[in-house]
């Protein structure tokens, strides 16, 4: 087991190096020179050359690459061209918003999707199963931005129940500001007993959250169902039925357990989809997270910021998958002895 974990970590270092290599290449194939972008306006040739020398861009590419990697390893992500602030601090300011949104989404997707999948598998070909199948087929065909706009139209435009966008209303941040402790507004508001803040934060997160959950619920439900159907065919399940073990115990204790390993993999992949989907969803709902930051940085031609945030999002995704891999040992005791 220790050997496997070490191997897995070494592999991870390799992948991270690969990811960094890709962002390095991307930062050098930009149509306009980075130095020109940094100077802005219409710099003279001498100014560009001076800036390039200062930024180390006159060095040979391999040297630039080594500098890039060593900078990153020291947490030096460069400075945003737009604000002049270190990218690292810009990114960490927005990490909480993305983390809050995607984590709540994955929790909801798992809490709703897995029982729904189990129910679908148990009542195969029932009305519920067919509805779930129709949603699964249709769900993956909805563009996230259209779904987001439809929800805005219904809950903001027609019903007026929820705010259009943002993370907290300006009036609330003036009257009863949420004191940042964990950067997760819902938790911060609760911790400080700020009920107005909590209600407002909840209203703001509802629509982006709903969008992400609807987008991914169908897939998780479908995969759970198909795995359960396979497991329910196993002989030990039939035996359990023969022994008169209560049905709910068979479904949730015996059968569901057998699907845990593939389920973990699915959850890991779903989290990746969430992070990717968050880019579009945060952009539409003006949610101040990493995803929207990537898009706005790209629009502003701020490549250190967009690539820095991209690296961070890839890093989160890789960490989640590492955790998933390590959880295999927790879930399946057989793996520990191998």
């Amino acid at each position: 087991m220790v050997k496997y974990v070490v191997q897995r970590l070494i592999l991870m270092v390799g992948v991270v190096l690969g990811v960094v290599t890709i962002t390095f290449i991307l930062s050098r194939v930009l149509p306009s020179s980075p130095a020109e972008l940094m100077l802005g306006g219409r710099p003279t040739v001498e100014q560009i050359a001076a800036a390039e020398a200062e930024m180390g861009l006159d060095q040979p590419l391999p040297v630039q690459y080594i500098n890039y990697v060593s900078d990153l390893s020291q947490g030096e992500f460069g400075r945003s061209l737009r604000t002049g602030q270190p990218v690292l601090s810009e990114v960490s300011d927005r990490l909480g918003a993305t983390f809050e949104l995607t984590t709540l989404a994955i929790v909801l997707v798992v809490l709703v999707g897995i029982p729904l999948g189990v129910l679908s598998a148990v009542r195969r070909n029932s009305m519920l199963d067919n509805v779930a199948r129709a949603i699964a087929v249709g769900g993956v065909a909805i563009p996230s931005f259209i779904l987001a706009m439809a929800l805005q139209l219904i809950f903001y435009g027609a019903l007026g129940w929820l705010p259009l966008q943002g993370r907290v209303a300006p009036i609330v941040s003036l009257d009863s500001p949420i004191l940042p402790i964990t950067q997760l507004y819902l938790i911060d508001a609760l911790l400080t007993g700020n009920w107005d803040g909590f209600r407002d934060a909840l209203a703001h997160i509802a629509l982006p959250l709903l969008t992400l959950v609807i987008l991914l619920l169908a897939t998780v439900t479908r995969i759970t169902r198909n795995m359960m159907v396979e497991v329910l065919k196993e002989e030990y399940i039939r035996t359990a039925f023969a022994y008169g073990v209560p049905k709910s115990s068979i479904y949730y204790r015996h059968a569901l357990k057998a699907t845990l390993i593939p389920m973990l993999t699915v959850i890991g992949l779903t989290y990746g989809n969430l992070l990717g989907g968050a880019v579009i969803v945060e952009f539409i709902f003006d949610w101040p997270g990493l995803g929207a930051f990537v898009v706005f940085s790209i629009i502003a031609n701020d490549y250190p910021a967009s690539l820095g945030a991209t690296l961070f999002l890839a890093g989160i995704y890789l960490s989640v998958n590492l955790i998933v891999d390590l959880l295999y040992f927790v879930v399946d005791p057989r793996l520990r002895t191998q």
């Binding site: 690969g18 563009p143 805005q152 990717g276």
Partner: protein, 295 residues
């Protein structure tokens, strides 16, 4: 003619043929529905210049933001352009994008998978590790980063999507190749002096076609979705190109009051991708024996 005539009874045959078509349609209702919608989308893309009721690009400010009606089935946008006509023309772009992205991804991925699976060893490890890196990004994030670096535009968006998705094809082809590589007939061909290249192209490639077709049919729809998303955030198609994602982005400023400006392109994307997915599901059932029928 006696009653023991050997002449085949055509009426029975014809009836059974008709029955079989009927049974096929009943058994594969979703596939048939998907195929019909897809056929319709394809026809509207091809015939758009002839069947569109209005010019898709003509700006008629006096007609701006008209609700759906007889003259404008999907209403008009803020420049008074007929949304239905624009949706028809948009089909051309989206279908082309889908085909190009999948074709490019296969063109990059298949040779890598072929080399990797056929030769194995260090080459295999190296190629697969490199491919893995492309999968380390959350979906859609890598295409966004690549398009940003190459500069916004439809072609760059397509290249970015293909570059982000090729590892899937590399993996599929590699798996298929590894299955057939150890077959006796491959050894036989080698002993007879057939070159590696010829073996790969003549004997190994056909065996990996089925999984590639299945994956490609699914990715076709996702490519349309992803390209529309890229256009929506301003990285894909640019005006005056008529593209569904771009139309939805333009609708953002007024869809709360004029909902139809977003409905037309949204419905078009949804129905097209849905149809493609249904066809893809059907193809998988037919072509992939391991996947089996749904129960």
């Amino acid at each position: 003619m006696t009653e023991f005539s050997t002449k085949p009874d055509n009426t029975v045959l014809r009836a059974s043929w008709r029955l079989r078509v009927k049974a096929f349609i009943l058994d594969n209702m979703l596939f048939v529905a998907g195929a019909s919608i897809f056929f319709l989308v394809m026809i509207s893309a091809i015939l758009a210049p002839w069947i569109a009721p209005h010019s898709p690009a003509e700006i008629v400010m006096s007609n701006k933001l008209m609700a759906p009606g007889i003259d404008h089935p999907m209403g008009t946008d803020k420049f008074g352009r007929d949304i239905f006509s624009r949706v028809l023309f948009g089909a051309q772009i989206s279908l082309t994008v889908g085909v190009c992205v999948v074709a490019l991804a296969v063109l990059i991925g298949a040779p890598i998978g072929l080399l990797s699976g056929y030769f194995g060893g260090k080459l295999d490890t190296a190629l697969m590790r490199i491919s893995d890196v492309f999968l380390a990004f959350p979906p859609l994030l890598l295409p966004i980063a690549i398009t940003a670096a190459l500069g916004p535009g439809l072609w760059n968006a397509m290249i970015a999507l293909a570059v982000s998705w090729f590892p899937w094809y590399a993996r599929i082809v590699r798996g298929a190749v590894m299955r057939v590589r150890k077959e006796l007939y491959i050894d036989a061909a080698r002993t007879m002096g057939v070159s590696h290249l010829r073996i790969m192209l003549r004997h190994v490639t056909p065996n990996s076609l089925t999984p590639v077709i299945v994956q490609g049919s699914m990715d076709f729809g996702y490519a349309i979705l992803a390209a529309a998303s890229l256009s929506f955030i301003g990285l894909g198609a640019r005006p005056p190109t008529i593209e569904w994602g771009l139309m939805a982005a333009a609708a953002r400023t007024q869809f709360l009051d004029q909902w139809w400006t977003a409905l037309g392109p949204g419905l078009a994307i949804f129905l097209t991708v849905l149809a493609i997915n249904l066809v893809g599901d059907g193809l998988r059932d037919v072509l992939d024996p391991k996947h089996g029928r749904r129960e």
